[in-house]
């Protein structure tokens, strides 16, 4: 269409001024935000460029993370608005260029382009309507519904409506440019309603709507960086620079002995990417929806963790840029209750999994915990006890270290000292070494490995805590001490391959020990068993009982390491076992047992216990498909589930068990059942010692 500014220098000037002001304000604010972002510490996020480009295509352009099951409809609506925005932006630039220079961008007059613009404009209007209805009538519980969101939706709606109006009015007024396709929507409207503009008004309406549209774009540009809508720009770099570390690996503090501060004592100590996360958060609340702590009434809200960092940066940014020595408030002390929020986290990564724009909540929480634990020594007393126990006894329960291998005396399990040539190290872990219930899992693991003829040995009393609880509580120094000690021991015996029956041992040895130079082939016991079954090295017999086994995904096996299928394959391979899925809280949405992130050793006094909520989810499944066992692959999950079946008084009919124990009962000759009776089970307490 012919722009209303054509041939009028005054109007062209006005258009340039309006856009210059709007985009000038945008650039000014963007520059300010960029300078504040640069307050963050340096972090190299450029490795694996190819993967980053692929993420950009899949997550940013493809909107993949928006289509998760519970959010499918709104995910589609969002994608339509987003793709519409990309297409229509080309049209908008074309409008401006033709308004100033009278020149059309190539291709913008063609029928395919005009059709695409119109169809997306229609889709955007429909999606915006859906968003309005949802916010007003069905507000999602965790979403932060505020004026900002309405203004943004109204702004987009305004732009789409003005677009449709000037297109339609332009058709009537006959301002179509030569060789340009007619906008189909305008045609359709005129088909239904032949003369919407009385008299000679079509040209005036065309001009007014055209101007409203272009002034609207400039106003929107000025508003955008003041609002959460900035995410349409920040998501682009935020996805590109997302962490390419394995999800289960926390960041290493290098040269820890030479440092004076540790973790986030200031927004300056958070990396620029962590600050960019704050600019990118759209307050959709999906992270909060999935958080087991929030769901059970704890003070933690992962969305708030991100927004607090953003708000602190917005409030302190100008001051910190002016004064290089000013460190501002420690993020962990941003609000008086902030520390309680931080200690409530189980590091289950449900928030990270849920975030459509790849925000990394966990790293922030751990960086703040690091500051509390290492700089201030301010750790909840029970967690402090577990740290002291790791320091002094090499296990968080404070059990005598020389009893670590007592479980392996009868039947005797060889140590590397006794059998230095073994192919695999079975890294038993503290829980299976000291907790009586979990010792049965260790014995079952040994039985299975023996039945398959795997060459393995343990470290015995030379094994020490892998350090995972310390690292997640925030004591990086203790983690490094523990890890170095184990790496040294592994090295002494030339160990190359490691089996872990605990996902926490598995995760930290596989994903974090390489940070300190310890690289091994590490498998979780269920992964190895799956391979052994597949290769025909392990024959599973039919047991006497028929079991309906619900599989509970441990966070450090599932979400952190994406080991979802192997334990399921193992269960499916056991004759007489029917696997039940704890839908919808399984696989990527698996609900934490409550013990991760050092929570195993902390009191849980606020709200409902996380493991009880988990049990309720299992019982909801059980009501439809009766369940006889709930299997997991993690000692802490087992402890938590054992407590929960007792609390819900179902211990007589639903038995928590480790996948390896199930396997072990099916390699024995029928009749030789040596499973534990739940009333004989004795767990270590949360914070003994």
């Amino acid at each position: 269409m012919i722009a209303p500014t054509t041939g009028n220098a005054l109007l062209i000037g006005a258009l340039i001024v309006v856009w210059a002001v709007g985009w000038g304000l945008f650039v000014r604010r963007a520059w300010q935000l960029y300078r504040w972002l640069r307050l963050g510490r340096d972090e190299d996020r450029t490795e694996h460029p190819a993967r980053r480009l692929r993420d950009e295509l899949v997550i940013y352009l493809g909107q993949r993370k928006l289509f998760k099951r519970p959010y499918l409809v709104r995910g589609i609506a969002h994608a339509l608005i987003f793709w519409g925005f990309l297409i229509i932006t080309v049209g908008t630039v074309d409008l401006f260029v033709s308004g100033v220079f009278g020149y059309r961008l190539p291709g913008t007059g063609t029928a395919p382009f005009v059709w695409t613009v119109d169809l997306f404009a229609l889709a955007v209007v429909a999606s915006i309507a859906l968003a309005f209805v949802r916010r007003i009538f069905l507000p999602p519980p965790r979403m932060h519904v505020a004026l900002d969101g309405y203004l943004i939706l109204a702004g987009i709606a305004f732009l789409m409506i003005t677009l449709l109006v000037f297109e339609t009015a332009g058709l009537v007024a006959g301002v179509a440019a030569e060789g340009s396709a007619d906008p189909p929507l305008g045609r359709a409207i005129l088909g239904l309603w032949p003369s919407p503009f009385p008299g000679e008004s079509a040209a005036a309406v065309y001009g007014a709507a055209w101007w409203a549209h272009l002034v609207g774009v400039a106003a929107f540009a000025a508003y955008l960086p003041q609002s959460k809508h900035l995410h349409i720009f920040t998501t682009l770099p935020n996805v590109f620079f997302r962490s390419q570390r394995p999800r289960g690996a926390l960041d290493l503090i290098d040269g820890i002995e030479e440092r004076e501060t540790f973790g986030a004592g200031s927004v300056r100590d958070l990396s620029w990417k962590q600050l960019l996360d704050g600019y990118t958060c759209t307050e959709c609340g999906r992270c909060s929806d999935q958080c087991p702590a929030l769901a059970t009434g704890k003070p933690l809200d992962p969305q708030k963790i991100v927004l607090d960092v953003r708000d602190q940066l917005l409030r302190e940014g100008a001051r910190l840029v002016r004064d290089g020595s000013d460190r501002g408030t420690p993020p962990a002390r941003w609000k008086p209750t902030k520390t309680e929020e931080l200690w409530a986290c189980t590091t289950c990564a449900a928030c990270v999994e849920a975030c459509p724009v790849t925000i990394e909540h966990l790293d922030k929480i751990v960086d703040m915990r690091r500051w509390l634990a290492m700089n201030e020594g301010d750790v909840p007393p029970e967690a402090q006890r577990s740290l002291t126990n790791i320091e002094r006894a090499g296990n968080p329960w404070g059990q005598p270290p020389d009893t670590r291998a007592d479980w392996a005396k009868d039947p005797a399990v060889p140590t590397f000292a006794e059998q230095p040539g073994a192919e695999w190290l079975y890294f038993v872990g503290c829980a299976a070494s000291f907790d009586r219930r979990n010792q049965k899992v260790a014995r079952a693991t040994v039985e299975v490995l023996r039945a398959a003829g795997v060459s393995f040995a343990i470290l015995g009393v030379e094994e020490t805590c892998n350090g995972d609880p310390a690292r997640r509580i925030g004591n990086e120094y203790l983690w490094q001490t523990q890890a170095r000690q184990n790496i040294e021991t592994f090295g002494r015996y030339g160990i190359k391959k490691v089996i872990a029956s605990c996902p926490h041992c598995f995760n930290t040895i596989a994903n974090e020990y390489p940070q300190l130079g310890g690289s091994y082939e590490v498998v979780h016991a269920t992964q190895l068993v799956q391979r052994l079954v597949q290769d025909g090295r392990l024959a599973l017999r039919d047991g006497a009982a028929r079991d309906a086994v619900a599989y509970h995904d441990p966070c450090y096996l599932g979400r952190h390491n994406r080991v979802y299928d192997e334990p399921r394959d193992v269960l499916d391979a056991i004759p007489g076992v029917e696997r039940v899925e704890i839908e919808p809280y399984h696989r990527e949405r698996g609900f934490c047992c409550g013990a991760g992130g050092g929570r195993m050793w902390m009191e849980e006094k606020v709200g409902q216990r996380v493991n009880h909520r988990r049990m309720d989810q299992i019982l909801a499944v059980d009501a439809k498909t009766p369940v006889t066992k709930v299997a997991s692959g993690c000692p802490f999950c087992l402890i938590m589930l054992d407590e929960a079946v007792g609390a819900r008084d179902v211990q007589d009919r639903i038995k928590p068990i480790d996948v390896l124990e199930l396997v072990a009962t099916h390699i024995r000759p029928p009749g030789a059942q040596t499973e534990a009776r739940s009333d004989e089970v004795e767990h270590l307490g949360r914070a003994s010692g």
Binding site: I256, E260, E376, G377, T388, R392, A393, P400, D402
Partner: protein, 265 residues
Amino acid sequence: MKLLVCVKQTPDSTVRVKVAGDGRSIDASQITWAISPYDEYAVELALERKDADPSTTVAVVTVGPTRSRDALRQALAMGCDEAILVTGAAAESLDGLAVARALAKVVEEAKPALVLCGRQASDDDQGLVGQALAETLGWPHVSTITKFRPADAGPAGSVDGIDVWREVEGGHEVWRTSGPVVLTVQKSEKEPRYPSLPGIMKAKKKEIPEKDASSLGVDAGGAKLEIVKMEPPPARGGGKIVKDGDMKQTAAELVRLLREEAKIL
């Protein structure tokens, strides 16, 4: 105000102690050492005073073998300002009274406003040193305290004395004491603090002056007590679970066992 805390290094509570071959001492080869728990409470109480009034200085002293230096480092890492190690051949085999005498010399030199000790050490459980120290110094002492603070300042702003809380059945006693005093500590309100990493690093670099025990007028021959024999507690027999039959039957069986086998009814 200057505070002096006396600590002892004992086997950590996570250690399973074994009797050594000589039958009179413990096998020290596999032991992780730590500050005795009541002494750790004493350190915490002193540091809480320092938190409340930053002009307070806290010194910590121990009498023992050279490995006791680690206990002092731990106290420094928690936030104590200085540490004194009394060691040497003579310090290896002292009894409580001799330790108290050595400590008395340190107190006379350091001139603290008050001295804190744990109420007893977790290894020998004698509970002797605090009181013996007070007697040797001729100072008053209050035992098994849980809290202390300077009494309300007098008109000139001077401190009148020290208020001391003792836990008793169902409540607290509050004592007021003037002048220098020895307090033995039952517990602190808060758990002993977790040393910060900068605290640990600073403590690693700090100079710890060493005094030879014999230079303080005590010698190895000074011990009045001698351990003749040590033996581990008898091994525990396995428990018995009564589980056959219904509740009435199990109760009857339990009573029968308590009466006939355990002979306690």
